[in-house]
């Protein structure tokens, strides 16, 4: 979106023009919802929080300084809101470290071991997603955020730097560590399951 167009829409929206506001946010709705959904891991929460994000956007329209793209600003509010929400809940939630994977036959494990996708792989897309999601639950909030933004939502390094308000260098190292961490969790689960299988035999 051109800068000129955006700032005139913003002004109209500030003056109460709802359709201008809708035009501003329509393209970011899905991603904001996805950010919330992946961070909070619950559809209801994702809906509530993501809508709260847009309400915040609406209330703070006059604070948009036009330096970054409008969507970047929106995503920033989204990420911060989700992080705040997660910190709020951290005390209440019980994270089970020993959570077992839902499936014994892990498609991911197969890939790590065999490196050959089997026909089953394509049907197991959903299960892979579940495995990854449950592994992600064990990541720190920051790691979860950066993986969501980069690998799940496909945002660029520079966008992520703007959104999370850190330097590019920080984004790069944070992402590298997050991915490593996630991989270890997944592989660790595999070992955990393998152990279980051995015990059962």
């Amino acid at each position: 979106m051109e800068n000129v167009n955006t700032s005139s829409l913003v002004n109209q929206a500030i003056n109460g023009d709802m359709s201008a506001f809708e035009e501003l946010i329509i393209d970011s709705e899905k991603i904001v919802y996805n950010i919330a959904f992946r961070m909070l891991a619950d559809a209801e929460d994702a809906k509530d929080i993501s809508q709260e994000v847009f309400i915040k956007v609406y209330k703070n329209l006059s604070k948009f300084d036009g330096k970054a793209a409008f969507s970047t600003w929106v995503y920033r509010i989204a990420v911060n809101t989700c992080i705040d929400e997660m910190r709020k809940r951290k005390g209440k939630q019980n994270v089970s470290i020993d959570e077992e994977l839902k499936t014994n036959e892990s498609s991911l494990k197969k890939q790590y071991i065999d490196k050959e996708p089997t026909p089953e792989e394509s049907f197991m897309q959903k299960e892979t997603e579940e495995e990854i999601m449950s592994a992600m639950e064990k990541l720190s909030i920051e790691h979860k955020a950066v993986i969501t933004l980069r690998d799940l939502d496909g945002l660029s390094y520079s966008e992520i730097a703007d959104i999370t308000e850190v330097s590019m260098g920080t984004v790069k190292s944070r992402l590298a560590r997050a991915r490593l961490q996630l991989k270890n969790i997944i592989v660790g689960n595999k070992e955990h399951i393998a152990k279980g299988n051995r015990q059962n035999n």
Binding site: E29, K63, K172, A176
Partner: protein, 421 residues
């Protein structure tokens, strides 16, 4: 290259963010080091899987629900934070509560005035104004958009929460609106009110002319009643009289006054000019301070990190916004009263023969007393309104305190509810 260095670079390599040189070095290392190679393979697969996970679709009705919520926040914010109820939802309730309060205050004052001014005095057809239920304090004349010629009620809660000044608006918008208001430094804010009694030959014609003149000048009819007051059996004549309140732009006020002579003969008149400049500027000053405070609080919220801080700031922000709204309302009320002068006319249709006949028959006597009592009532009404106008500010303060008291209670109730949650 050592393995920890390689580890850092693998992630970047997967995203193709490495420069040629680093890429070269990494490839060399990977060809030599099995551990790192495995790590690379695993990460690569994982990232591919992550990338393959599709974006979740928005749930049904997400967008429309969102827009609804945003519309509601305009309303909700006013409800939660301000002491003035939004006109859309709660107007009816407010009308009733306001009426009760104001009728009580008005009744008390009315009695005072009645006792004070004494019942003797003029029986002449006094100038008639609206009775005490025209609230000059809290209510305003309806906003300019509502202009129409038909008789209508004055909104008790006439505060103009139009879209542009809704609660959720930011600081700059409100102050922009204020800058458009009348009182710049040079101009005095004067509220002009004219009460006049007019005798006319043809009542309906006079009313029509008045409406024409009013609308031609960009004004509007605020209130209008009429009734037949004398039915003369012998001649079959029925005479009408009535009251009409006009709001004229102050620029055309003088001109309209002169036009009255063409419509009928003025039996009496009374003009008042109320200078509210001092209060106006004072209120503007206070409003500016509150707006600045609002800005600062909003900045603070941005910087604060803990939820507790944010909650405290938001609470203070709520109070500040309540003040902002009340000041804005007062200013807007004054703007309207100044911008549109009020002309209240009591119009009486007369024939050539005098109404108050010298005829001493019983019927006429009754009529006379009836007219007499109407005049007394009108005079009392006039005194009341004058007294009210004079007590405008104290009434405003009393009413505002009453509002606060009631709404602090409500706020406490809501706080209790919130805490219970």
């Amino acid at each position: 290259m050592k393995c920890d260095k390689a580890s850092e670079l693998i992630s970047l390599y997967i995203d193709k963010e490495l420069n040629r040189q680093d890429e070269q070095l990494l490839m060399e290392h990977l060809s030599e080091c099995d551990d790192c190679r495995n790590e690379y393979e695993q990460l690569k697969v994982m990232v591919e899987e992550l990338n393959n996970i599709p974006l979740v679709e928005l749930p049904n009705g997400y967008h429309s629900e969102l827009i609804l919520k945003i519309e509601n926040t305009k309303v909700d914010n006013a409800e939660n934070i301000s002491y003035f109820k939004p006109k859309e939802n709660n107007q009816n309730n407010n009308k009733k509560t306001n009426w009760k309060k104001y009728s009580a205050i008005a009744a008390a004052l009315f009695i005072l005035v009645v006792v004070g001014s004494g019942l003797g005095g003029n029986s002449k057809r006094g100038t008639k104004e609206q009775s005490a239920d025209q609230k000059y304090s809290e209510s305003a004349a309806p906003a300019a958009e509502d202009i129409d010629a038909s008789p209508r009620d004055i909104n008790v809660d006439g505060a103009a929460f139009d879209e542009a000044s809704g609660e959720s608006k930011e600081v700059s918008t409100i102050s922009n609106k204020l800058n458009l208001s009348n009182s710049q430094n040079n101009e005095r804010m004067k509220i002009k009110r004219l009460y006049a009694g007019l005798e006319v030959k043809d009542f309906d014609e006079a009313i029509t002319k008045l409406k024409e003149i009013t609308e031609a000048n960009g004004g509007y009819v605020e209130n209008y009643t009429s009734y037949v007051y004398n039915y003369d059996d012998t001649n079959g004549i029925s005479l009408k009289q009535g009251d009409i309140t006009l709001r004229m732009p102050k620029e055309s006020y003088e001109a309209s006054k002169n036009l009255l002579n063409e419509i009928g003969s003025i039996t009496d008149e009374n003009e008042t000019t109320e200078d509210v400049t001092a209060e106006y500027i004072d209120t503007q000053g206070r409003l500016n301070m509150k707006l600045k405070e609002e800005e600062r609080l909003l900045e603070l919220i941005d910087k604060s990190n803990t939820i507790e801080d944010i909650i405290k700031i938001e609470s203070r922000l709520g109070e500040v916004r309540a003040d902002i709204e009340s000041y804005t309302t007062s200013i807007q009320n004054w703007d309207r009263l100044v911008q549109f002068s009020t002309i209240t006319l009591n119009i009486v249709e007369v024939t050539d023969s005098k109404i108050t006949s010298i005829d001493s028959d019983f019927g006429s006597k009754i009529q006379n007393s009836f007219i007499y009592s109407i005049n007394i009532m009108s005079m009392l009404g006039q005194n009341t309104v004058i007294a009210l106008a004079g007590l405008f500010i104290p009434i405003l303060i009393i009413a505002f305190i009453a509002f606060c008291a009631v709404n602090i209670k409500k706020k406490k109730k809501k706080d209790v509810k919130k805490n219970d949650k």
